[in-house]
Symmetry: C3
Subunit: 337 residues, 3 copies
């Protein structure tokens, strides 16, 4: 299905292969061959599809997909003849199958137009694009892919299997393994630190670093300032969308997810596995607990305890926010005062 201009033709896989990949229980012919993934409505007899959202149960019943990854309780709703891969997390199963059909391209080469300082070290099997700049003392792990015109500053460390997009810049940063940094992201510039005054705002030297854990993903054109003395820290497994701003000394816990245009002011700490909607803003020096969920466009002015769900600007507990919204809507619908 994927456009061959951009994606290699997938290699076929058997139902047995797919069951092994997804650790799913198999229903159907183990030797049946599948050639691609496809959505329920578009899939044909040699395609693998998935059902994750119950809203699409009708599409599942009507689908012509040869195989489908579904949760076990959907088995009896499957159309006749459809092979099934039964698993409690069909979306994760789909991700594994799609990875198997579309592995990352294996090419490894260092462009002659890259500018790599002689004191930098580069692990084996790296791909380095034209114009990529790798500064003095930088240490790049194995199998990294460094995009065209990205700039890896002096002393920066990248773990194995990192992917750096085109025109991204990294400085004063120690980066773990398997980290993805998309195009145009700016990591490690000095933060917004000034001693303000009527005679001019005096810049305060920023003497810290950015520490990025394993398996972090950082979106396109996102900006992360380095610490002022302490470090700015992004916990392992955190997923950060495009155009996010993370100020100096911020600490993001493990496995956090934050959508685009989030802005986090200096020295705020966010716990593990927080889920943060788009365009949320955080004041500085806040403590946000583990597992906190924050509605899009919220404005955080106070600390939030672990496990809470909040919304609004200023943010309040979600039930309170929704009641306030309902009241306001009713007010707005009345004609009079």
């Amino acid at each position: 299905m994927a456009d061959p201009r951009f994606y290699d033709t997938p290699l076929p896989l058997t139902l047995k292969d797919l069951a092994d990949l997804t650790q799913a229980e198999m229903r159907g012919d183990a030797e049946a061959i599948f050639t691609d993934v496809a959505p329920l409505e578009a899939a044909g007899h040699d395609h693998v599809s998935f059902l994750d959202n119950r809203r699409y149960t009708d599409a599942f019943r009507a689908s012509k997909a040869g195989a489908c990854i579904v949760s076990p309780d959907m088995e009896k709703k499957a159309p006749a003849g459809m092979a099934l891969l039964l698993t409690d997390d069909p979306y994760r199963g789909y991700a594994r199958v799609a990875h198997a059909f579309y592995p990352p391209p294996p090419s490894t080469a260092v462009s002659t137009q890259a500018v790599i300082d002689e004191t930098a070290s580069l692990g084996p099997d790296c791909l380095v694009g034209p114009g990529a700049v790798i500064g003095p003392g930088a240490e790049i792990g194995r199998r990294c892919r460094i995009g065209a015109h990205s700039v890896i500053g002096a002393g920066v460390v990248l773990g194995d299997d990192c992917l750096i997009g085109p025109s991204a810049s990294l400085a004063y940063a120690l980066v773990g393994k398997g980290v993805i940094i998309h195009a145009g992201a700016c990591i490690g510039q000095d933060g917004f630190g000034f001693a303000p005054g009527a005679q001019g705002h005096l810049k305060v030297p920023q003497l810290g670093r950015v520490i990025i854990g394993d398996d972090v993903e950082i979106g396109a054109n996102t900006t992360i300032d380095r610490g002022s003395g302490p470090d700015t820290v992004i916990g392992a497994g955190a997923k950060i969308d495009n155009l996010v701003q993370i100020a100096h000394n911020v600490r993001i816990g493990q496995g956090c997810m934050m959508a685009a245009h989030v802005g986090i002011s200096g020295s705020t700490t966010i716990g593990d596995f927080a889920m943060i909607g788009g365009q949320v803003g955080f004041a500085g020096h806040l403590q946000i607990g583990d597992g906190v969920r924050i509605a899009a466009q919220s404005g955080l002015m106070r600390d939030v305890e672990s496990g809470m769900t909040v919304g609004g600007s200023p943010a309040v507990p979600m039930r309170q926010f929704l009641r306030g919204v309902a009241r306001l809507e009713r007010m707005g619908m009345k004609k009079g005062g």
Copy 2:
């Protein structure tokens, strides 16, 4: 008027030339010569100005501009001796005249520092800046201008007359004719797709493309993720400002205009000719109709029917939003409870 450091001196045009360009009715000497555009207050006898906003009627009455583009009903308010170009859309008329005085520079050359894959094709009369990278199999139309250090990925197609700003990146994208993509824009990186889980969020391969219609303009540092399987689609003639985020599978209709910092979550569809204010956020999977108008900073949580005007976060019909705001303001102004 324009600074000669940056703009070439305009070639003179006669009133007749200007009337032809603007398809306006002419009042004055057809052979009179004009050398530049200028605002009403600053214009002299050899300058062309325009009046589009009635707020500036006094400036029009007092202006020393040699000629002015105005709507027909303003004719009798013109100062004596001012030539007039009468048209129902003076701002459009001004745009055409300014284009005629300041045409885009004709230079075409391919920098020896550009890095163009031997399997890429490049139409005639292109300008390619230093460091521009054009990947394998890319197809660039005629008269394109490709900025310094921009990165055009493998297989990307650009129609004729496209303009790509410095350090922009495009991947997995099919782009129409006359498209402008400003500096630093990131188009086609893989979107924010994960199968979340306590043991780590698993990345879901993104197998779609970005399809951009003719005459689209995309602002500086704007980010557009490619589709996850379906495509991300930007309709012909859409105008997208700086720092906008468009997630995977979003579909933007023709002629939409959206201001800076708008964020659109995955799989949301926006109809034709919608007008979207700055910092508006959209939840995922919404259907926004044709011609919808959305106030700045609104938060869209539900579908919106064609033709509606909405505001607020969560967004409601505009009249309801304004009433709610008025109530809230009155409440805020009262001292007591």
Copy 3:
């Protein structure tokens, strides 16, 4: 304390040196030697710390720092044996001391991979990174540091001591002395100007410039469009954070500070020393006075007089905003109607 991967080891300074730098009154042995700055909790006997925020008075009392920069009234709370530098602005004092320990690296060199037009001029002692492009007629002052892959367009002027980050782009811009432009910032592209219409939105040529005063700082991936005819102007000493959008013809006063994700629509004017929180949005054509303070996430729809503090969306005077928020919170906490 700073990581030697990224920062040179500081040269030692005496208490007398530090007192001269900070113009502080000295308490202690003028010849005592200090080797670094450090926070109150982490500092040892040869470190200099500072106390700016009364919240940290306990940390000050317990600190093992050899010297501390504090306001005179804290003198009697200092632990025994701590040298003191007494000044009314301890944070500014700290900034000066940190600058002295960590001066910017003195290196100056022009990369052989830079692409400098033969008609451009470059002052002495500049550092130009690999891939930096400097266009025809550009004039670069003394001691400028131009980052890798930054693109300085034709005719652009940079004053002395400017710092341009990697992959930043400047066009149609006149820049003062001591200006810092961070990585990925896009300055001078043409603004969002269209004559809208059902048959297509016609682009209006943008014929102005961007004028940036001395000592301005512009954050990473921030975008500033050039004027449409008038100029876009950033006053001297203004400090602009990351991912900010400044549209055509905007005028920012001297010494303004604005946090990340602020968006300012076309032709709005902001007075001197305004303080603007993160994610604030401004409609176009507004007049915002001197010294105005604006809470984060506010939406400005009307002019604001000098000296006011405002908040909310739409923004109202701060006291009114806070009362409205309090009412709404109370409403949200009630169960019934």
